[in-house]
């Protein structure tokens, strides 16, 4: 089973590090957090701890047996203790964290040389997500006792959670493994190993590690609750029913919600959000004070478009744990949902049954984006319904966020992750084009096409499709049926190909989830897409149909190795070899000359910078003679066009930009320039091409006012008033935005002309008067008003004549 947490679109290079960090966290952090952190035997290492534990452990034991009332009474009695550390533990257990902190401070003053006190104080800071303070306290504890295992363990946790130095984390882990641990902490670390194996799809290893952990726990007479929970997870990951196993834990502790929370975590990272939702509902039913479970439930409900329920769950979590930054982020996001997002359903006008599509857009952007997003989404649904033989059982919800961080919080709860789109099933969220205003290389239409493919691959496979397979199909659809056809492969991926960095298909999921170098995620996306192009070529006739059949096999529990072998008749090593050979046939020549090609591109860029136009053109042409399909940033086509512009070679410049567009280039400014050059040419064919270029550009940069102005004018000239009206209306909507066109009178004049073309004289009069109210001296509008007035007079005179 693939352990991906999310499905996300390919990422620009700048965001790779954060993605890697995310993947690292997801594979290293404990899967769940209990309301009350276990003690891990922290009190067993020194005389003070051992003395205090005789008071503390009975209270803890009651809690872990589900006797919450008894446990609470026990902790309340410790509030009367004369020892501040016991008071601190009691306040902490009773959820009075402020008093616990004060008592910890007092304990530290009373026992300045105690590593135990500093370490537990660090644990308290961990509970309130203050990782740096926790880290400092663990370090102080280690200066007092360099071999104190709980402080090492705490340091590891604080580094994992706070994103600290990887080298220090590794060395701390190594030291921890060499220390003599008490049984509680030893068991806890063994269970961490099990979790890591489970998250890495290493079920055989997980099975062995889990059996060892169980033996150890039984030998040491430790609680089996966590062991049983992970046994339930193992069953779940192997598509068995985890419920009977969880019931065994509940027999030991009837309020043991952590088992369901653990299952919820693994359901989430395998994208089985509906099951996650059920598990977490069970968790909060068993323990309504499990704030983490409420928060996870809220996030999952949000992914399932259960906004009201999400709202309630997240608020419930906040009421119990106001420190969690994820809770606060999600509450802010819900404010955005409630105050700035609006939903519209399609088709319009409504037809019988549920809507097919729901768009959730920012209300400020709706007038600009809605028609383009709806048209493209409906088109993609039509294509995918037929290809994947799936009739969606619910409306597909598409959300576009103008603020990237809102989108990221919506997707993963915390900001700072470089993703463009995430699909949760029948719902996907993505960046609006306005989230990338300064970038020439965000094509929202392609992102939508990619994410919509995930909706179908997830639903067809009942969310059991492996990550690489689902991403591969989405990229394949981008290239073969999406709004910008053709493979668009970044330079970093070509470099990886040249360095033979593609993984075996059997390991490709690791490239997404556990990347080992900076660009590996994007390399994995492209490899997955190329694999489907290869399969398409290899299977020949009806390849598309066969790929869909492969997808359906996952629903029955097949592994990707089984599916591939069955469809292609090759073993995995044979498949890898055949794919490699296909890559060589497709790109071998180019990859051999890659350094030379790069050199020419760099030389061309340098020549542009130094205004050596002829040299720039020469270098670009040499690069193009090696490879002419590259349309990503610094495309040689753009270097050539720029040089030709400066050399006054307008016709050649137009040809270069045209070729750039035909090869899949979509950067706004070059395409606007191409349009102007085509229109200057003034031939009917050039105008038709210019319209096509502009239409496609709307799927990259719909907030560009020039685009709508040019396209609206062209439609008006071509007597397509409805299309012109749409463009001018978008232009008007853009004027409401900061930096949008403020010159409104010409837009209203154009809308008046559109209305005339539609024989709507009343509307035309309204629009022209709106223009003239803004600009009474506007001569073109005055002329049109005069014309309309004469027409009206003529019409009434004709009516008078006919009445006579």
């Amino acid at each position: 089973m693939n352990p991906s947490g999310i499905l996300h679109r390919k990422l620009p290079r700048r965001v790779m590090l954060s993605t890697i960090a995310l993947a690292f966290f997801s594979s290293q952090l404990p899967a769940s957090a209990a309301t009350r952190e276990p003690l891990y035997g922290a009190y067993s290492y020194d005389p003070l701890g051992r003395k205090l534990s005789t008071y503390l452990l009975p209270c803890e034991d009651s809690y872990r047996q589900g006797k919450h009332l008894q446990s609470e009474q026990c902790f309340r009695s410790l509030l009367e203790s004369s020892h501040p550390l016991l008071q601190a533990e009691a306040f902490w257990a009773l959820d009075d964290l402020q008093s616990a902190n004060n008592a910890m401070r007092a304990a530290q003053q009373e026992h300045p040389d105690s590593a135990l006190v500093r370490s537990r104080w660090g644990d308290l800071f961990m509970q309130t997500y203050q990782y740096q303070q926790a880290f400092n306290l663990y370090n102080e504890a280690l200066t007092l006792d360099a071999t104190y295992p709980p402080a090492y363990y705490g340091r590891v946790r604080s580094l994992q959670a706070g994103g600290g130095e990887p080298e220090l984390l590794q060395s701390s882990l190594l030291t921890l493994n060499q220390l003599k641990l008490n049984p509680e902490l030893s068991l806890h670390l063994r269970l961490e190993e099990v979790r890591i194996a489970l998250e890495g799809d290493m079920y055989d290893e997980a099975t062995i590690a889990l059996a060892n952990a169980r033996d150890f726990a039984e030998q040491e007479s430790l609680s089996l609750l966590e062991v049983i929970s992970l046994e339930a997870v193992l069953a779940f990951m192997r598509f068995e029913d985890p419920q009977p196993i969880i019931y065994k834990a509940l027999a030991l502790n009837p309020t043991w919600a952590e088992g369901w929370v653990e299952l919820g975590h693994f359901a989430e990272i395998t994208r089985r959000y509906r099951q996650e939702y059920t598990f977490l509902k069970n968790a909060v039913t068993l323990n309504p004070n499990h704030w983490q479970a409420w928060l996870d439930l809220g996030q999952t409900a949000l992914r399932l478009n259960l906004v009201e329920e999400a709202n309630e769950a997240i608020k419930r979590s906040y009421a119990g744990d106001a420190f969690n930054p994820r809770t606060i982020n999600l509450l802010r996001l819900l404010d955005t949902f409630n105050n700035t997002m609006v939903v519209s359903a399609y088709p319009q006008p409504p037809q019988a049954g549920s809507p097919e599509l729901e768009l959730r857009l920012d209300k400020e952007e709706k007038a600009v984006l809605e028609s383009y997003v709806a048209d493209l989404a409906l088109e993609s649904i039509k294509v995918y319904k037929q290809r994947y033989r799936l009739q969606p059982k619910a409306p597909i919800v598409v959300e576009l966020f103008p603020k990237h961080e809102d989108f990221v919080v919506r997707s993963v709860g915390m900001p700072g992750v470089g993703i463009l789109g995430v699909t949760f099933g029948y719902l996907f969220a993505m960046d609006s084009p306005s989230a990338h205003v300064k970038e020439d290389y965000y094509h929202w239409g392609t992102t939508l096409w990619h994410e919509m493919a995930h909706v179908f691959t997830l639903e067809v496979s009942e969310h059991l499709v492996p990550r690489w397979f689902s991403e591969g199909i989405s990229v394949w659809e981008e290239w073969n049926s999406g709004p910008v056809r053709g493979r668009k492969i970044p330079l970093s991926v070509y470099k990886a190909m040249a360095e033979d960095k593609f993984l075996s298909v059997s390991e490709l999921d690791n490239g997404f989830m556990r990347p080992s170098y900076q660009d590996q995620v994007i390399v994995s996306y492209m490899q997955a897409g190329l694999i489907f192009d290869f399969i398409g070529d290899y299977l020949g006739e009806n390849a598309e149909e066969k790929i869909v059949t492969m997808l359906y096999a996952f629903k029955e529990g097949a592994t990707s190795n089984q599916v591939l072998s069955h469809a292609t008749g090759m073993t995995i090593p044979e498949f890898d070899a055949a794919f490699k050979s296909w890559i060589t046939s497709e790109y071998g020549d180019f990859l051999e000359q890659l350094p030379k090609w790069q050199g020419e591109v760099e030389e061309g860029l340098q020549a542009l910078k130094e205004e050596r136009w002829a040299a720039a053109a020469a270098s670009a042409m040499k690069a193009l003679s090696i490879h002419d399909k590259y349309t990503e940033p610094n495309s040689p086509w753009l270097i050539l066009a720029r040089a030709q512009e400066k050399l006054g070679q307008t016709k050649l410049q137009c040809d270069s930009l045209l070729r750039y567009w035909q090869e899949g280039g979509y950067a706004t400014q070059p395409l606007l320039q191409l349009t102007r050059l085509l229109l200057d040419g003034n031939s009917p064919e050039a105008v038709t091409t210019a319209i096509q270029v502009m239409q496609e550009l709307r799927l990259a940069d719909p907030f560009n006012a020039d685009l709508h102005q040019i396209l609206g004018d062209l439609y008006l000239e071509q007597n397509q008033p409805l299309l012109a009206e749409s463009e001018f209306s978008v232009l008007l909507a853009l004027s409401k935005q900061t930096g949008g066109p403020r010159d409104l009178a010409p837009i209203h004049l154009n809308l008046a002309k559109v209305a005339i073309a539609l024989n709507d004289l009343t509307k035309s009069m309204d629009q022209v008067m709106t223009a003239l109210t803004i600009a009474p001296s506007y001569r073109p509008a005055q002329k049109l008003l005069l014309e309309l007035s004469r027409l009206q007079t003529e019409n009434s005179s004709n009516r008078g004549t006919s009445n006579d």
Partner: protein, 336 residues
């Protein structure tokens, strides 16, 4: 409220739709004064120089304009003050002045200074120069960093929060202003000390049709301000940066203060048919302006009806003017 005799003349300039008819008021002069301060670096110097060129072109586009440029070593405090002393003797009550400051400014918490060779020009100097000049209203456009420090000087009775910005030009607010100087600054106070973007966009606006929002083929101080303000906002938004400058506009009738024309000047002979039509057009457009002022007191449908009637009248006159200008017929003869 103070009356401004030359406002009528300024209005007349744009109402003629690019054709100037001779009238007694055509003698009024707009002094277009550009003070280019020290750039400090080649980039800034080139930038200020480019802005100056755009202002010079704008000045040339307006009839009845006298241009004075201070730059380089000549642009000292002493020279500037001396020139203004001379101007005081020459300027009439129907004349007005537009002073543009292109360069760097500073504010030490008490005093604003504009950087020029030798001794800097202070905010107090500028206040004295402009408030002592007869005529008006006069315009000060200060595109420098910290230029907002001048706002207190030119509106000493008001605190910052009461300033009129581009969103608040209510009649009441205008009446409260005692100054006859229209002030535009690149920043909202003296504490915004970064080099500004405003000046580039402001001077750029003077030749752009897109800045001429009311389509009278003139770019007014208000329009140039609005354009520059929007562009600056857009730049900061695009770059996802906190804005380090917030331009301000303070003073009377910025919409009436034209800074550039976008069409070619044409001249109608006195007594000709074209001159008559121009006169009629001026009259209609003056009535439109009056009507616009009454808008808040009218029912919307009545307002629109009245507006439509007047605009139709203007349109018919415009049609007649067009026929003459493109040479279809005019017995009296016109010249370009």
């Amino acid at each position: 409220m103070k009356s401004y005799p030359c406002v009528f003349f300024l209005r007349l300039l744009f109402l003629t739709g690019g054709i100037l008819s001779f009238s007694p008021q055509a003698q009024a002069t707009l002094y277009y004064v550009i003070l280019e301060g020290l750039g400090g670096t080649a980039t800034y110097t080139a930038n200020f120089s480019s802005q100056r060129s755009q202002l010079e072109a704008a000045a040339a586009s307006l009839p009845g304009t006298e241009l004075k440029v201070f730059l380089g070593e000549e642009a000292t405090r002493e020279v500037v003050r001396s020139w203004f002393e001379q101007l005081k003797l020459k300027i009439t009550t129907t004349d007005s002045l537009a002073l543009f400051l292109l360069g760097h400014g500073s504010f030490d918490g008490e005093q604003y200074k504009f950087n020029v060779p030798e001794i800097d020009i202070t905010g107090e100097d500028l206040h004295q120069i402009l408030t002592e000049l007869p005529g008006g209203p006069h315009l000060l456009v200060n595109t420098s960093s910290a230029s907002g420090a001048l706002l207190e000087l030119f509106n000493p009775q008001k605190n910052t929060s009461q300033r009129i910005n581009n969103n608040d030009t209510s009649q009441q607010a205008l009446e409260e202003l005692e100054s006859s100087v229209l002030v535009i600054t690149a920043t909202r106070n003296g504490n915004e000390k970064n080099a500004t973007l405003f000046g580039s966009f402001f001077t750029q606006a003077l030749s752009l049709e897109a800045a001429d929002l009311d389509k009278n083929l003139r770019v007014s101080a208000q329009e140039a301000f609005d354009y520059a303000n929007a562009q600056v906002e857009a730049v900061f938004k695009e770059e996802n940066r906190l804005s380090t400058e917030h331009s301000q506009l303070l003073g009377p009738e910025p919409k009436q203060f034209n800074l550039a024309r976008l069409d070619e000047q044409q001249i109608a002979t006195e007594g000709s048919r074209l001159a008559q039509l121009l006169s009629q057009q001026e009259s209609v457009e003056a009535r439109i302006e009056d009507l616009q002022r009454q808008r808040s007191t009218m029912v919307n449908s009545e307002y629109l009806q009245a507006l439509q009637t007047l605009i139709l009248e203007a349109a018919r006159i415009g049609e007649d003017i067009d026929q003459i200008v493109i040479g279809i017929d005019d017995p009296a003869g016109e010249k370009q």
